[in-house]
C-alpha cells in the first residue's frame, strides 16, 4: 500500500487536523470528529447536517460552509459515524429553525442517524427531519431490500437544499427540496481499479489489468458485473443508458450533469468522459442546463468515475446557481 499517511489508525484524525489548519473559517471538533461552519448556529436558519464514513473527500466536510452544509460528521473509513457525533453536530447548528439530516442510504448510516434523531428528540426541543439519498441505479430497488445506495446525488442535494436553507425556508420546505432533488436524480459508477482501505492495507477487490467493474458504489464494494476495459465512449454509454432507462429526463428544464471522479482519476479524463456524456444526452434530446466535473464524492484511491443526472426545474436551477462558499465548492461569494 502506497499512501501519503502516517499510522493507518490515525488517518481520519490527521486529515481533520489538516483540514482545520487549511480552513480556519471552519470549526473542527476533533473529539467528536465533526466539522462545523464557523458562524454556526445561524439564527433562524434551518441547519443542515450530513456525514458518513470517511474516504469520500471532499464529501462531506468539504461542503461545510455558507450555502451548503452547517456540519459534517466524519466516521471511520467507510463506516457510518456514531449517533453521538450526529447529536453533537445537530446541537451545534441548531439556530432555532430545526435541523435537517441528509443521510446516504446505507443501513448503517440510516440507523445511526435514526438513533441520533431519537436521542435529540429525547434530550431537547430541536426539531429534526431526515432525508435519505438513494440515487444509484446499479442497485435494484425493492421494498424488501436495503434499497439503492446514496451516491452522487448527495452532492447535489447538499448544494441545493443548502441554498434553500440559506433563503430562510422552513424545515419542511428544505426537506421537500432535498427529497425532490433525490427523486429527480440518478447515478451510476464504474471502477478501473479497486481502492485500498488504509487499515486493510490491500485492495478491497482484485481487478485484472484488462477488466473494469460496472455498477460500483463508493465503498469499494464490488460492482454488479465485470467487463473488459473499453474506451470512454462505451463507458459513457454503460453509465448513461441505465440512468436514462430508469427515469424520464426529457421535458422539463434539462438536466444538471455531474461527472464525478472516484479519487485517482485525473481531471483530463473526467473532461473526456464529460464530452462523451454530453454527446449521449444530446442524442437523447436532453439539454444540459448546468454541469459539474471533478472529484466530489470519491472512494479513496479508486480510479474510475460516476455519472449523476438531475432533472432540473426552475427552482432547482435557481438554488443550484445560488452563492456557496465551502472548501470544495465555491461561487458567487
Amino acid at each position: 500500500m502506497k499512501k501519503l499517511i502516517n499510522d493507518p489508525a490515525n488517518v481520519i484524525a490527521d486529515a481533520l487536523h489538516g483540514l482545520a489548519l487549511a480552513h480556519p473559517e471552519l470549526r473542527v471538533d476533533h473529539e467528536n470528529r465533526i466539522v462545523v461552519r464557523g458562524d454556526a448556529p445561524v439564527q433562524g436558519k434551518v441547519g443542515l447536517v450530513s456525514g458518513g464514513g470517511s474516504g469520500h473527500e471532499p464529501l462531506h466536510a468539504g461542503f461545510v460552509g455558507r450555502g451548503m452544509l452547517d456540519a459534517a460528521c466524519a466516521g471511520e473509513v467507510f463506516t457510518s459515524p456514531v449517533p453521538d457525533q450526529m447529536v453533537a453536530a445537530t446541537k451545534a447548528v441548531d439556530g432555532g429553525a430545526g435541523v435537517l439530516h441528509i443521510v446516504k442510504n446505507y443501513t448503517g448510516d440510516v440507523m445511526n442517524f435514526e438513533l441520533a434523531a431519537e436521542m435529540v428528540a429525547a434530550e431537547s426541543g430541536t426539531e429534526v427531519a431526515s432525508v435519505i439519498i438513494d440515487d444509484d441505479v446499479a442497485v435494484q430497488d425493492s421494498l424488501y431490500t436495503a434499497g439503492r445506495r446514496g451516491v452522487g446525488a448527495t452532492v447535489l442535494v447538499e448544494k441545493i437544499a443548502g441554498a434553500a436553507a440559506e433563503e430562510g425556508r422552513s424545515l419542511g420546505e428544505v426537506a421537500d427540496v432535498a427529497r425532490k432533488v433525490n427523486a429527480y436524480a440518478r447515478s451510476m459508477g464504474l471502477a478501473l481499479t479497486s481502492c485500498t482501505v488504509p487499515a486493510a492495507g490491500k485492495p478491497t477487490f482484485d481487478l485484472p489489468d484488462d477488466q473494469m467493474e460496472v455498477g460500483i458504489g463508493i465503498h469499494g464494494e464490488p460492482g454488479r458485473r465485470r467487463v473488459p476495459v473499453a474506451p470512454a465512449n462505451e463507458i459513457a454509454e454503460m453509465l448513461v443508458s441505465p440512468i436514462l432507462s430508469d427515469l424520464d429526463f426529457t421535458g422539463g428544464d434539462g438536466v444538471i450533469a455531474f461527472v464525478n471522479g472516484m479519487g485517482a482519476t485525473p481531471l483530463i479524463e473526467l473532461y473526456i468522459m464529460y464530452n462523451e456524456v454530453s454527446q449521449l444526452l444530446a442524442k437523447a434530446g436532453i439539454p444540459v442546463a448546468r454541469s459539474l466535473v471533478g472529484p466530489y464524492i470519491t472512494s479513496l484511491d479508486m480510479a474510475g468515475c460516476s455519472v449523476t443526472l438531475l432533472k432540473a426545474d426552475d427552482e432547482i436551477l435557481r438554488l443550484w446557481d445560488a452563492p456557496v462558499n465551502t472548501p470544495a465548492l465555491r461561487r458567487g461569494v
Binding site: 464514513g53 466516521g75 471511520e76 473509513v77 467507510f78 463506516t79 457510518s80 459515524p81 456514531v82 449517533p83 453521538d84 446505507y106 443501513t107 448503517g108 440507523m111 445511526n112 435514526e114 438513533l115 446499479a138 442497485v139 435494484q140 425493492s142 424488501y144 431490500t145 436495503a146 445506495r149 482501505v197 487499515a199 486493510a200 478491497t204 458504489g217 465503498h219 469499494g220 464494494e221 464490488p222 454488479r224
Partner: protein, 208 residues
C-alpha cells in the same frame, strides 16, 4: 445468572470477537465493505474497558452499558443493531436471570434488531443466526433442558442459521447491492452473532 455471570458472557464474547476479527473482516470483504471485524472489535474493546472502569450492579445496568457503548463506538450497521439489541435486553432483564429469563432477554434483543433493521428471516443478516437461536432456547426451556443443554442448543442453532446464510442472496445490508453475487458466502453479522451464542454456552453453560 447474576450480573457477574452475564458480565463474563460479554467478556467471553469480546474475546471471541478479537480472536475472530480477521475472519469477520474477510467475510465482510467478500460481500460487504470489509470492516465488520474492526467494527465489532472496536466496540467490544470499549465495552470491556467500560465494564472495567465502572462495574455495573445489575443485569439491566450491564446490558445498558453494553448497548450504549456499542452505539457510541461502533457505527456502521452493526453498532445500532447490536446496540439496540442490548438496550432492549436491558429493558427486559430482571435482577437475576434464569434460563427462561435469559430466553426472554434474548428474544427482546432479537425484537430490537428486527425493529431497528427490519430484516426478515432469510434476508442473510444476523437475524438468521439470532432468531433460530432464540427459538431453540425457548424450545429447550419448554422441554425442561438444563441451562447448559439449552445454551448449547441455542449456539448450535445460531451456527446452523449462519451456515444457512451461505447460499442466500442478501436482501438487507451492503451485501444486497451485490445481488446474485452475494450467494456463496456466509453473512458476517450472522457469524458474529454465532460467536455471541457460543460465548453464552461457554460462559454461562456450566451452572444451572
Amino acid at each position: 445468572m447474576d450480573t457477574d455471570d452475564l458480565g463474563a458472557w460479554i467478556r467471553e464474547f469480546a474475546r471471541l470477537v478479537a480472536q475472530n476479527k480477521e475472519k469477520l473482516t474477510d467475510l465482510d470483504s467478500a460481500i460487504g465493505d470489509g470492516d465488520h471485524g474492526a467494527n465489532m472489535d472496536r466496540g467490544m474493546t470499549a465495552v470491556v474497558a467500560a465494564l472495567d472502569a465502572e462495574p455495573p450492579d445489575s443485569p439491566s445496568a450491564l446490558f445498558k452499558k453494553v448497548g450504549m457503548t456499542l452505539i457510541s463506538k461502533v457505527g456502521g450497521a452493526s453498532g445500532p443493531l447490536y446496540g439496540t439489541a442490548f438496550l432492549r435486553m436491558a429493558a427486559s432483564a430482571d435482577t437475576t436471570v434464569d434460563t427462561a429469563g435469559f430466553a426472554k432477554v434474548l428474544r427482546a434483543g432479537l425484537d430490537g434488531v428486527v425493529a431497528r433493521g427490519k430484516a426478515e428471516l432469510g434476508d442473510k443478516t444476523m437475524v438468521d443466526a439470532l432468531a433460530p437461536a432464540v427459538d431453540a432456547l425457548d424450545a429447550a426451556v419448554a422441554a425442561g433442558a438444563s441451562q447448559k443443554e439449552a445454551l448449547r442448543a441455542a449456539a448450535d442453532a445460531a451456527g446452523q442459521g449462519r451456515e444457512a446464510t451461505i447460499p442466500l442472496v442478501a436482501r438487507k445490508g451492503r451485501a444486497s447491492y451485490l445481488g446474485e453475487r452475494s450467494a456463496g458466502h456466509a453473512d458476517p453479522g450472522a457469524t458474529s452473532t454465532t460467536l455471541l451464542l457460543i460465548a453464552a454456552a461457554t460462559a454461562l453453560g456450566d451452572e444451572d
